[in-house]
Symmetry: C2
Subunit: 425 residues, 2 copies
């Protein structure tokens, strides 16, 4: 008993080469991909590929899942004001219950837009883990460490991070861990050193924010006489595999450092735009050999977890900023949003025999996507999340014919609205 | 017998002030807006406003409707190459039949994303008019004049434009006309002068492309020792009310000229981005008093006619380019996409008693839009075209509960796919 995708255009392998094939999924794996028809047993679940495209599911490389609770709560503000005056006071009032329901809401939104894996940084990890486990989504979760010094508070933060990593390592394979010192401006040198030691010891990646705003960069030059990237290099911050979100304001020398240390950049173009932080030089980063994935950031600064829109914004804003329409063509945009993100998280992330079955299926026969010259172009430039019909994670449907199978959306919406109302008081 | 929107959050008047109201539509007009419940007669069509937002429908201020036929046919190219080597040869093969079906496809896409009026420039006008008439959409249509000299060809082009204007003036009120000299690089001085005379005589606006690419601007300086905006001023090009698409590369002096002549800019941010033309300085234009509306441009350079995505891109790209997150807040983005566009086309364009009923209804109770702090923020930053449930133009439903009422989508898709196949040969 498996799943058979019949006569479907599929973006295969790392190159996302589109071919019309049959795909058989057994257990949690892609068992067989064939250009000639595969047999279908009566017990198999059959998906007609007519007019559809199968892609490796989107990997949302940087988000803060429960922040959907603060969607639209603080628009049109610069990051510092947004964070200190609006978001942190709201977060101080969060409960496990609120984080649990918020996480389920965010998971529902991500599944609906074709996401099959994500990398998160937040707190109230127990509640997030519970929601992710129920949803069937694949995730790399991390506790966001905020500590200037290695004092009692700093040690407590690191202990929480360690506890999270160990618990997740003992749990199911679908959920992994990272160590997440929040940034160079919220964590001091000694805290960073311990965080990196923990990551190396536990063999998990570092997940952080880096060179997001001009203020961060200017303050760093004033305090340390070097850029945030140079500072982190000096601190030994790149000794463990690192996912650095944003990297908007990077010098050519910063780009070299990121490339040399094999840092992955989680490009969050809509959050960077909305907070007035600018447009990260992803074409330069990619040319230097840096692995660049795509993230939505939290829904309080985007205000959306929709990877389909995010990759379109990534492609278009790169062309606008550089003046070069040939950079980040559709296929590269899709690679960033899938393969590149998966690589950073240690996932397989391609449609290939033997790989775990993490697949999104989009219907390209909508009025907004026809005629379709190139399915990847239609996906990037014309389709929206509404085109996503089915999502498979680890061989299991999380969405089938646009209906979620693991999350009770009505219940989640009801609970989130109740919680949101309580935050207004 | 009318339509009653019951207990709906509605963005009222020019300021788009959101209030929960009942709205009665009779004939093609908004008859009554009331904060206390309005009676509903048995023959009335009732729309529950629960969780929904009514906005004045989007006005797509610059598009080339039938170019949906070339969606994805020429991606990742600079404008000059895109136009001369790819698009013009394809357009040379267009037939009335192809334009008719393409127009219906584009109309379906626009209605589905909440658009109630648009301003178009193309050729094969008969076929476009037939499609628009059937669709029930409101439109300002224009024949794109391309003629360097006032020779036999130039006179023929102007005669076609004149014929189009006169025919549309005699037709139904829903369809109006403009005069459309294509640009300063495709139309010479004498052609422009005649086009402006025609617009003044017939009391219709001019619709053109202006300062779209750096090449256009550089060539203009070389040939005329002034900017395209200065040249057009010298040619008397702004004597008639003008809708100028793009205006990406404008100097402070250009901005003053545009403001002084009350030119409306049709900002097409995704087309400008995709072709590598940059980001128009809309905040500077607006500060100078220029009326700025939003257009999608044709689907061959976007590749989408979705105004909901376009206004989000407009807001986010303006913040990214300026580094100022406070500019173009959600309400201003919606105003540009509705009120500003309507003003340029001589339409009423607001939800107010006595106005023509051109309304889009969006459902903000989706997983991607809740919680909703501010409905306009949810619309701009979180919702997508999938949130649009109902569209009313001139008092008539063109979409009801996500089903189109005037266009047979399956037939249109079938015909367009057939046509697209023939273009591949």
């Amino acid at each position: 008993m498996g799943i058979v995708l019949k006569g479907i255009a599929a973006a295969l392998g790392e190159a996302l080469t589109v071919k019309r094939v049959d795909i058989r999924i057994e257990g949690n794996k892609i068992e067989k991909i064939s250009e000639s028809p595969l047999p279908v047993a009566p017990a198999d679940e059959l998906v007609s590929g007519e007019g559809k495209l199968a892609i490796p599911g989107f990997v949302n490389l940087h988000t803060h899942l429960p922040m959907v609770l603060f969607r639209g709560a603080a628009d049109d503000l610069p990051l510092e004001e947004w964070l200190r005056d609006r978001i942190w006071p709201l977060e101080a009032r969060l409960t496990d219950e609120a984080v649990y329901w918020g996480s389920l809401l965010g998971l529902a939104e991500m599944i609906r837009s074709g996401t099959t894996a994500f990398s998160d940084m937040y707190f109230h990890l127990d509640a997030i883990e519970r929601a992710v486990a129920e949803s069937g989504m694949r995730a790399v979760l991390s506790y966001g460490i905020i500590a200037a010094e290695l004092d009692a508070h700093g040690k407590e933060e690191l202990a929480r991070a360690e506890e999270t990593v160990k618990r997740l390592k003992d749990g199911e394979e679908r959920m992994k861990a990272a160590v997440a010192p929040h940034s160079i401006y919220t964590c001091g040198r000694e805290v960073w050193k311990r965080a990196v030691e923990l990551a190396l010891e536990q063999e998990v990646p570092i997940h952080t924010h880096l060179s997001e705003t001009q203020t961060e960069v200017a303050d760093c030059y004033v305090r340390h006489r070097m850029s945030p990237v140079e500072l982190l290099q000096e601190w030994g911050g790149f000794s463990a595999p690192t996912i650095a979100a944003h990297c908007v304001h990077v010098t050519p020398s910063d780009v070299d450092i990121l490339a040399r240390h094999r840092v992955t950049v989680a490009h969050c173009p809509r959050s960077n735009a909305k907070l007035g932080n600018g447009i990260a030089p992803i074409s330069r980063l990619r040319s230097a050999g840096v692995n660049v994935g795509i993230g939505t950031d939290g829904a309080a600064s985007n205000n959306s977890l929709d990877m389909a829109s995010e990759l379109r914004f990534a492609a278009l804003s790169a062309k606008a900023a550089s003046g070069d329409p040939t950079i980040i063509p559709a296929q590269e945009a899709v690679q960033m949003a899938t393969v590149a993100g998966a690589r950073a998280l240690g996932l397989e992330g391609t449609i290939a025999e033997g790989n775990r079955a993490d697949i999104a299926i989009v219907d390209l026969e909508q009025v907004e996507t026809i005629p379709t010259s190139d399915p990847l172009s239609s996906l990037v430039y014309s389709a929206g999340r509404g085109a996503v019909t089915d999502v498979v994670v680890d061989g299991r449907f999380l969405m089938r014919d646009r209906s979620l199978t693991t999350i009770d959306e009505d219940r989640v919406k009801y609970e989130v609205k109740k919680i949101a109302k309580s935050y207004k008081n």
